[in-house]
Symmetry: C2
Subunit: 382 residues, 2 copies
């Protein structure tokens, strides 16, 4: 399977009180179609990734809303996989193209989260956890704090290690005008921020955000783009894990990430050593550390080393989360997985602006639902 | 594309207060896998169709819940397309198999609607309509009543015509132990039932239900079943239409059904004249009449004739909604589209029990989201 990316676009992420869910869908779709240089009528199928519109805006059936906004009658499908809804939508679009039934697909990821009181948003977010976890009064930061505790207990890592991904990702976001928090923060600022669920501090948590991102994908055999713009998805894979943490054998890893990565490397005939850059799911700082290990980029227990020696920072050997990640670019849930791929496409096309990596060849996007109940991995190559 | 159906199962539909969402998912999945005669570990990908668990049970991320219940780590994807969530999930599973990446897929459709006050359920259901329709105080029976008014104005049809599909479908349900309302009703009973939104009466509306249904699908080249059990999906198609009724040109038809049917007939190289039986989306009685016209089974404006002359009743030329339809078998939203296919599979396998059609060869399943913002059509053949 080889899918060409013809167009890519991300809206500004942040508290976008002057934009509705429909506005965001329309902006992202229209701009991605424009970037692809195709006509709207050439799109044959559309996928929309979203988690919370049903709970927060009483708007399900987004597939039909998308069709209405674009004034098309093509098949349109809404995918929901918690915080992996965006990546999962891309994966289904790849499958649709691989089926040979469709040549050009649109994927939109979108979320509108900042119009409601935080209590309602938190409750909505918890719908991605098990009912038992919800009834226990756990929050996602609480669940990831359990994972962080386990990690700190098992491996040589300390408070500073948990803070480093946040500092790095804010630095990257300071170079990204589309980021929700386009500014740097210091290690001291992280330490001064309040503990939300020990050991995790406020500045180690991703925010509540609005935003959308979109891609136009095509059967690689049909892609007629100028060579310098050609970017391909060379692997798309997904895996599942028990919804509840109680069903897991090891809280210091996410099995679904490991399984999805394994399949992706096999499908792409590439390995972690081939990656020029990654966008990984850093909903909390500990998640980035664990992700790099599960993806095989670092050995087990050595995820912190890569943060300390700077190899995952812009200018390092293999930058991670150049967009600013979920932490600093923002985390409009359904949009995140699509945005990760938009960032990699921009980098591979040499359009990374102030945060451009030198001649990158291969990028990996890693999107997680909940505490790892779902993981989606895409590998892109130019 | 040719997909073999290895296993099919429907739970009892009704007010199932002693069964949770998880219970229903597990029962349907396990029994479909058993019916397929395969091991759970042979399933390579799973799709779950559901509309309301996020709103009514604060449980999104059902893909991961399914993986947890089955104790598997395969890719699992939740599909939401309002009342077409089930059919849409089947369509994505067909695409996954057509992609050549997966050989055996599980599809589950599920809904749990009767645990909450009806006001909350109604509000949740309205999430499948546009925000403007919601703010106008419209309900789905109100929206379909507008369509019915338009239909009655345009064509020669009266009150009795609106009642006939309900009477027929209840008769069929009286022969189906899995139905929510396994009993007949008379024309007089329909006329005596209160008007909910003129011209539609209570007994012309589908109920609020709990239930699940599941299918095991396989690449037809790999299906190793006894010949008398072999049933294939020979076409799977989807189309979209404006979410809001205000965006439509003609309220007496559903354009998405017409487009999906057109594609399905083309893909199957079959036409309406080839159909032995149909399961169509009769959320309200008018919907069955319009569906038969949009599917090309009746000429425009003649949908009522087929009800009057009995050809769509068991024993008639081309029975419609032998399961009892949404009206009398029940309408657990996400389960409906899957159940329709389960019914057709049972009929094509000769396992229709008291409502078995004589040697049926081809069946069509038609599932609609909202007022027609989404339509999904599957054609099955033995």
């Amino acid at each position: 399977m080889k899918v060409a990316i013809l167009g890519a676009y991300q809206t500004k992420f942040g508290e976008l009180w002057n934009k509705s869910l429909a506005d965001l869908i329309l902006e992202a779709s229209s701009e991605a179609i424009k970037d692809a240089g195709i006509r709207k009528s050439q799109i044959q199928i559309a996928f929309i990734g979203n988690k919370l519109a049903g709970s927060l805006s009483n708007q399900n059936h987004l597939s039909s809303l998308l069709a209405q906004l674009l004034k098309v009658h093509i098949p349109a499908i809404r995918i929901e996989a918690a915080c992996a809804s965006g990546g999962m939508a891309v994966a289904q679009a790849c499958m649709a193209i691989a089926s040979g039934q469709y040549e050009i697909a649109l994927v939109v990821g979108v979320e509108k989260m900042t119009d409601l009181p935080i209590e309602e948003v938190s409750s909505g977010l918890m719908s991605a956890a098990s009912l038992e976890e919800q009834e226990s009064g756990l929050s996602f930061v609480g669940l990831y704090a359990l994972m962080a505790r386990k990690y700190l207990e098992k491996f040589e890592a300390g408070e500073e290690d948990l803070a480093l991904p946040a500092v790095k990702n804010h630095f990257h976001a300071s170079l990204n005008g589309k980021a929700q928090f386009p500014f740097s923060i210091s290690l001291e600022q992280v330490f001064q921020s309040p503990i939300i669920a020990s050991p995790l501090r406020l500045l180690e948590c991703s925010p509540v955000s609005d935003g959308a991102a979109a891609l136009v994908l095509a059967d690689a055999r049909l892609a007629q783009r100028k060579s310098e713009d050609r970017v391909f998805i060379v692997a798309s894979s997904q895996a599942s894990e028990s919804l509840a943490l109680t069903g897991r054998e090891n809280l210091a890893e996410i099995l679904s990430t490991k399984k999805a990565a394994e399949t992706a490397y096999e499908r792409a005939a590439l390995g972690p050593q081939d990656l020029s850059l990654l966008e990984v799911h850093d909903c909390f700082s500990i998640a980035e550390i664990i992700a790099l290990e599960d993806l095989g980029v670092c050995k087990k227990g050595e995820g912190c080393l890569a943060q300390r020696n700077g190899e995952v920072r812009l200018g390092g050997r293999r930058p991670v989360n150049l967009s600013g990640g979920l932490k600093a670019c923002g985390h409009p849930v359904g949009a995140t997985g699509v945005k990760q791929i938009v960032e990699i496409v921009n980098q591979l096309r040499g359009r990374g602006g102030k945060r451009q990596v030198e001649k990158p060849l291969v990028g990996l996007a890693h999107n997680v639902g909940g505490t790892g109940g779902t993981a989606v991995v895409h590998i892109l190559q130019r």
